[in-house]
Symmetry: C2
Subunit: 586 residues, 2 copies
């Protein structure tokens, strides 16, 4: 029981020297990668750089204690940082203590919500973010994030929560472009793209081992940091208007209590829920991917608790909302992390960096950080899924397209809520008009198939109608209409068999409709039968009077149903072409 809630008790006792070595190596590499990322995502969230470092310590330790995924690395990530900026930006002015306090409170509430969801085993709620919605949301967020960093690249102050606001803010200040900043920013973007696309191959060509070359390519951003920081320091570019990170307090975070302001908490509850769910979906996808590769199992509800404590940890150490990040988890996994202890060691690495390295980051230009963000998030933008989905399903395409458009035009919260709402609405609409097939018997078999798709035998006195959906309130009246229409179109009909293998449940509204159908068919001299009713559906029908009032029978199979009404035809059809190869010898 305790092991379930404290997975560290599972792997901790057998932790040995080999795990320690692997985890330490992974931690060093992830630390190098995390330092610029932490600063960059703090910048993206509109927060002071040290908060990015703070969010990369306590959460990693908390995840090491509570997490079930071995290679997952938590910390500030791009999408959650954008969502933080959007949520907090509505409540306070960037740069004020209120803004910082709200971000800290957001992490706390987000963490408490996640822990509560985990304790109540509500992990399934994350399923309501359908794949199209998540995919569209990530793509649009990537574009918004890239757009939000353009100001830093050009050296002008811009802002805004959606594409329109961002564009107008940028265009209005185009005259204030700083050439040195622009040079550093575009140079960094060019270098980072080169590193991403070519560096690995160059290194391998020079004889570096592929695995090392791969990791080196992934920590490439550090070179851009070093070079641009050096350039600013050497040429005094900060005096030519190049924005720099400036003084970062080189102290560890002191325990913080988020503002105990109930009104504030109420205002950020919805954004906190959205950040929690989006962060959880990202975390669980990353965790499942790596778990599958090593045949390990993760516990989705425990992951909620782990991510929750990570966020509480972020909050009480002065950080902002954190999530399991894909790119850093890839690095962690590839660098050989064996257990979540690698995360704890990374936290130590970040702590050392905070104390000893921050003075060297004084001249780090914000444009370089913006460049690392842009290069990272543009890889999230994925328009291919849009095309694939168009081929597969117009409804899912609509959900993606609406999520992308609304996120771009209205902001992250509106986009996400509209996406979820639209997915549900499209599902309800689809199931409210299900596919209905009139069926006949396939000669030589006991099988019944759609008369429009197969050569089948039918009896004009029998209508066999299969409805391809559970019966529930949105389609209850549709069913009545379909039955009325079928009977009106077949004046010879004396029996109507509802073929039910696709009916997984019947709710109270649909039961009422079945009763009405039974009653109306009886008045018209048509007997109403059911066939192939599933066990659980039958169990429920037996609790009420419907089966007593049913004018016909309930048959185990559709063949039985037809055979009980017109045995000659059913058997003659079964006997036809009996010697087909797939039939067993008599």
């Amino acid at each position: 029981m305790l092991k379930k809630y404290l997975p560290i008790l599972t792997w901790g006792p057998t932790y040995g020297r080999s795990e320690l070595t692997s985890d330490l190596i992974a931690a060093v590499i992830v630390t190098i990668m995390l330092i610029p990322q932490s600063l960059a995502y703090a910048l993206l969230a509109g927060l002071p750089p040290e908060m990015g470092l703070y969010a990369s310590m306590a959460p990693l330790v908390a995840y090491a204690v509570f997490g079930t995924a071995r290679a997952l690395a938590v910390g500030p990530v791009a999408v959650a940082s954008l969502m933080t900026a959007a949520a907090v930006g509505k409540l306070a002015q960037q740069g004020t203590p209120e803004y910082i306090g709200a971000a800290i409170a957001l992490a706390l509430i987000s963490g408490l919500l996640l822990i509560a969801m985990g304790a109540l085993r509500l992990g399934f709620l994350a399923n309501f973010l359908s794949h199209p919605v998540i995919s569209g949301f990530i793509t649009a967020s990537g574009l918004l994030i890239a757009m939000s960093q353009l100001g830093h690249i050009l050296g002008i102050k811009a802002g805004g929560e959606n594409l329109y606001e961002m564009t107008t803010a940028l265009v209005a200040r185009l005259g204030e472009i700083n050439p040195w900043t622009t040079l550093i920013g575009t140079g960094a973007i060019a270098f980072l793209y080169w590193a991403r696309l070519r560096l690995k191959r160059v290194l391998i060509a020079r004889g570096v081992a592929p695995r090392i070359a791969d990791l080196a390519a992934k920590v490439g951003p550090v070179a851009a940091i070093v070079a641009s920081t050096g350039a600013v320091w050497a040429f005094g570019l900060e005096q030519s208007g190049v924005a720099i990170v400036g003084a970062i307090p080189n102290a560890l975070p002191s325990p913080t209590l988020p503002p105990l302001d109930l009104e504030l908490w109420a205002q950020i509850a919805v954004p906190a829920l959205l950040i929690s769910v989006v962060g959880y979906v990202e975390t669980i996808s990353v965790a499942q991917t790596f778990a599958a590769r090593k045949r390990q199992r993760i516990d989705p509800d425990q992951e909620l608790i782990a991510l929750g404590f990570s966020n509480v940890g972020a909050s009480v150490s002065g950080g902002f909302p954190v999530t399991g990040g894909f790119s850093r988890s890839v690095v962690n996994f590839d660098a050989g992390a064996e257990t979540p202890a690698a995360g704890a060691f990374t936290a130590v690495g970040i702590a050392l960096a905070t104390v000893f390295l921050t003075p060297f980051l004084y001249y780090l230009p914000k444009a370089t950080l913006a460049a690392t963000i842009i290069v990272a998030v543009l890889s999230l933008v994925d328009f291919r899924t849009l095309r694939h989905t168009w081929t597969y399903s117009k409804a899912d395409f609509t959900a993606i397209a609406a999520t992308i458009l609304l996120t771009l035009l209205q902001g992250v919260e509106a986009g996400l809520i509209a996406g979820v709402g639209l997915s549900i609405a499209l599902h309800l609409y689809r199931t409210s008009r299900p596919h209905v097939a009139i069926m006949g018997q396939v000669p030589g078999t006991e099988h019944f198939r759609n008369i429009n798709r197969h050569d089948v035998v039918t009896d004009p006195e029998i209508i066999s109608m299969r409805i391809d959906e559970s019966l529930y309130f949105p389609n209850a009246r549709f069913l009545e209409d379909q039955v009325n229409a079928a009977v009106a179109a077949n004046p010879q009909a004396k029996h109507l068999i509802l073929v039910c293998p696709a009916i997984n449940s019947i709710d109270a509204s649909a039961l009422e409709s079945l009763e009405a159908i039974n009653h109306r068919l009886a008045e018209g001299g048509v007997t109403f039968h059911l066939s192939e009713v599933k066990g659980p559906v039958m169990d429920k029908l037996q609790r009420v009077h419907f089966l007593d009032e049913l004018t016909g029978q309930v048959h185990l199979t559709q063949f039985d149903a037809v055979a009980s009404i017109n045995p000659e035809l059913a058997r003659a059809t079964l006997a036809a072409r009996r010697l087909q190869p797939r039939q067993p010898a008599a």
Copy 2:
């Protein structure tokens, strides 16, 4: 085409003397019944009595032109009047011109929404009011309406939008009870209950024909009106504080333009939509009931248009929202109405009453009207459905109970919205964790059934898993979990067959999950098959690469699937107990 939108063109040309006679008789009886009802529902809506009469003229003519149901009688009804009071009460003080204007605007917007829904063929939206929600809402509304009239019965001013507000308002003023009003009110209730329960039998015992006795019992309220009005006039009770209807303008309504105030329109759009949908559901249920009895068909989308024009008619003639009423339609039908012309004649009757009868209604006590309302609405209260639904489905019971409680405690709009939201949420929750069965072959047949419910034959190397739900985003990850668990529990398994007769659709999220399952099973050396995939599902799968990547096959039947993997076992099982009576002779 024109006949579709103007059903009067269908029955009008063949309208003859016999229809005229029947319709005229029905109109006279409905008119007598409608006069007190119109006044009473205007009182319930908090509007001057003449508005009830206005709402019983133009709408009936509009319905006669556009409606497809022969015996339906539209006009002010109890639930819509309560909803009108709730909606308008939020915007203006009762008794002010703004209150009246808002009620007129509500009818207009409600009418325009209905016409738009009809033109766009959105009648299916009404299906989202599930039967449990409607039933709970009507019951709770009946209780609220009865409660709202208690003040009139006791002669004290009360108010409030929900049970709590109403109770406290009543209790606070209990000292102001007027004894004469209470006497009239309780006397009227007693008489009306007696008329409802006994009058018909008494009349039949005295030799009156049953059909006449039945109609007489239904217009019984008129006697209470006449007697109590006479009593007030004779004893001058209005001077002892008995509230009376007072002067009603004895003129026909002049054409009214509702206030052209866009802000007002925006504020009442949601209540107007709710009134429209509730009114439509009531109308269509009444219409279908009577159409089925006479083997006539109604057109649900045209009914939206007809009800829409009825409401526009109510608005431009100074009335308030109208609906097809059950009790008056029963009277209309029983009195022999043959065509919607009966409604038009009723409108003429109400017009004559407005001009010639209103002076006689001066002394009509409001307590009598309140008594007619209470007796009418208490018949709407139905707690039996609550018990039936508890037996059949706990989820549907939850929806009813929540709708009743929220309507009583928070008011009509909150109750209705929460009921619809809860119905949808419960459906999503249920389908997010579908029933999953592991299957085996029934000896002597080609059929496969749940191993937990039937004696079946299985092969330890084959897992046949049937999932009883369409695959879509809320259950996509659940499917992955179930497959993982089944494979983990059957280490011998080399094949997993997903049996798909219950899968009516697969959305993009679920397709992604199937791809992940196929990939993971392949890594574990398990082949992934599908069987009994429905035609429409197969069509969609063929558009993408999934079937090319599938490690196994897609089989027409589950028997084919197993027979292709282990032909010996499948055929031996089929041959077992072959001579059962229900098998055809070889």
